[in-house]
């Protein structure tokens, strides 16, 4: 995805080191995603 954005001309694209797991493990805030509102079947 980062490469797709870079290909489209965005210059300041940075992936999060360690991904979402690293964010959660660091104990930082998270919020719920409303999957029903997004109409995402399980």
């Amino acid at each position: 995805m980062a490469r797709l954005l870079l290909d489209r001309g965005f210059q300041a694209v940075r992936p999060l080191a360690g991904g979402f797991d690293a964010w959660v493990e660091a104990g930082f805030d998270v919020e719920e995603i409303d999957l029903v509102a997004r109409r995402e079947p399980a």
Binding site: M1, V13, P15, A26
Partner: protein, 268 residues
């Protein structure tokens, strides 16, 4: 080289089994060339076609079962480890998850034909709610299609394969050096691509504490949650304010953004 063909004729079935097993366990030892060669030798009556197919499917299932059980036990961490070791890490977890989300167990029928997917799909199935029996059934059919196609290819073109073997035989021991050299070059090229990719990632990545410091400020970046649909269902949370985005809708979502806008994206 004649010795190599003689050895293949003598030990062909266990050699093919070992090659398939090691490849499916994740080692960068391509099994398709061996299967094609074995298929050609089978067409010449030097190896049993049914035995080759049976041992290939059994070896593939054994490796798949190991990864499936590791995925079931250790969950998503196995995928991360696999992709870190992969020679094509840039197309690893997210791509695999997207394929698996869309096609489920049916994706296992073609998994062996997709580079990178064949090793990652079993732990992905294991980390989900897939039962072992249907997983093994689909894996067995997928392995049969993959090994069968490669063997059939060798059998159909056994004349051409035989001519290549004859040419290599005339080169004597030089042929072995040539083959080993080609394999080493293949590994070196893949390794260099992998090294560059990780170097690029290391330079560009933002640590969580730095992102947290930027969130809420005027100069704060846009945060995109680019996890697969399956990953979001396993953990339906996000970084506060992150925009959940699907690759199919990328252009629509970013069309109005200035090109110098800071963007941070995250997977699992």
């Amino acid at each position: 080289m004649n010795e190599l063909v003689a050895a293949l004729t003598r030990w062909g079935v266990p050699l093919v089994g070992a090659n398939v097993l090691l490849e499916q366990l994740g080692l960068p030892i391509p099994a398709v060339p061996t299967l094609v060669l074995a298929g050609a030798l089978a067409a010449d009556g030097k190896l049993p076609l049914a035995g080759l197919l049976a041992v290939s499917v059994a070896a593939s299932l054994a490796a798949d079962t190991v990864w499936f059980l590791l995925g079931r036990r250790h969950g998503h961490r196995v995928l991360k480890t696999l992709c870190r070791l992969s020679l094509s890490p840039d197309s690893c977890v997210r791509q695999t998850e997207s394929i698996f989300d869309r096609w489920g167990l049916w994706s296992l029928l073609v998994a062996k034909f997709v580079p990178g997917f064949s090793t990652v799909a079993p732990p992905l199935a294991g980390s989900g709610r897939v039962a072992l029996a249907p997983f093994l059934a689909f894996s067995a059919v997928g392995a049969s299609l993959w090994a069968g196609a490669s063997l059939l290819l060798g059998a159909l073109f056994h004349g051409a394969v035989d001519r290549i073997l004859d040419s290599l035989s005339r080169l004597g021991s030089g042929a072995l050096v040539l083959l080993v050299g080609a394999f080493v070059v293949f590994l070196a090229v893949k390794w260099e691509q992998r090294r560059r990719f990780f170097k690029e990632l290391r330079m560009a990545r933002i640590p969580p504490h730095e992102l947290r410091g930027l969130l809420g400020s005027d100069a704060g970046p846009l945060v995109f949650d680019v996890r697969s649909r399956g990953a979001r269902h396993r953990d339906p949370r996000r970084i506060p304010g992150a925009v959940v985005i699907e690759v199919e809708r990328l252009d629509e979502l970013v069309a109005a953004l200035p090109k110098d806008r800071g963007i941070v994206l995250y997977c699992t």
